[in-house]
Amino acid sequence: MRLEIKLERAIAAESIPLLRSHLAHCDPGILSFDVSGAASGQVTVDLEAGASAEQATRRVQKVAARVVATGLVPPTKILERVSFEGITYQDDITRRLEEAGWLLALGRGAWGTAGALAALIRAFDDDFRKCALELGASDARFPSLLRTSFLNRIRYFDSFAHHTTFAIHLRPDVDALDAFSERMRRLPNGIDVVSEAAPSTMILSPTVCYHLYDALCDRSVPERGLSVTALGSCYRWEGSNIEDLRRLWEFSMRELIVVGTKDLVLDVRQRAMELTLDYCRRLGLEAWLENANDPFFSADASTKSAYQRGFGMKWELRLPYTASGESLAAASFNNMQRTFAEPCAIRLSNGETAFSGCIGWGLERWAYAFIARHGMSVQDWPDEIRARCSGES
């Protein structure tokens, strides 16, 4: 059933990505939605049979109201742009990758990579790791598991409960384990509820930097600051927004995290942006740096979003993948101020609360945009990348 929902207020173009993100978590009866009329105050949704139109309407209006609550709409700012003449892009990337055997469908939001695509992702990671090391970071490795006690400390669930993927295990109970095994034999496609689960104290981490903040809680960083780089698998439930390599449930991110003085954080962030733009120039990738915000889901989402976007706390590097200008946020450069250091009580050597920042490079998105730009023939790829991917096709 198609439903046209009138919003209380029109949504500014700059706020539509946030609305789109919210609608995927709004109502289980919504199969799909169209926000092309949001600027005129209307959203169209397709509801599954039997779903309540009244409930869906109320929920859509509720999340739309969050997006515009403050009425503040920071203008879009482009910090810098990399352009080339005569660029063309290939379409139908996912089908091509699957046909080549480079991309393996493994469930919703979960893809395996092989051949030159796997080599390409590895090459990107190597290059971003080198960038992080050049900026003074040291290597680290973190698990995917992250404790909920830490997340409560930084009040993660206030803003990002919708992304959470819990890590659960079964109760130590022989009867429950037997019942579970028996039930699974009859349910080849999985189960809706794991009634035998033990209370969970862990989630699968939505990002890489949280582990460092967790480890630094109630501690001081050295006077010169602390910079760490790590590659991690990240998990963010994206509902109906999930789509191929462009938006995954599980994705790979190389991060650089810096904790120290305000000047150190701003300097590392600036240099990381410059190095990443230089990298785009060398690889022939069009790109631009644009102000952005995280998909805060809380009632004060518009306040937090406006602040983050408006005051340059978050710059995203966007890579286009179609001639019409569709693009992916492939890296983000974040000044976290004291957002984490304050609740985590991370201090400088002089006793003051530290500052922090992080840079994240989303590897699958880099690969997607790179192949849209350069195609599937490894011999046509820029030398810097080709040398590490040839022989893999």
Partner: protein, 85 residues
């Protein structure tokens, strides 16, 4: 309102919005309040609302999110221009 009066009023409003952080970390008229984390998202919205009420104006998004909306002094200059404009 004179330039000095505007500066004093902005100083008072910013300090109220920043709360105890203003006293703890030595906020001056030329401190970048955002880079230095004196203001967070909530206190920034409070600051905007208080400035609009006190000066009986509607701040434009392009004013609020401009580099000039960063220090007590530059906000006061911005408001003075709006008053004289």
């Amino acid at each position: 309102m004179s330039g000095e009066d505007i500066l004093g009023t902005v100083r008072r409003i910013v300090r109220a919005a920043a709360g105890e952080k203003a006293a703890l970390d030595g906020l001056t008229d030329d401190t970048d309040m955002f880079e230095s984390a004196f203001l967070d998202s909530v206190s920034t919205v409070e600051l905007i609302a208080s400035l609009e009420k006190e000066f009986s104006i509607k701040l434009r998004d392009e004013d609020v999110f401009s580099p000039r909306f960063a220090t007590i002094r530059s906000i006061a200059e911005l408001l003075q221009e709006r008053e004289s404009g």
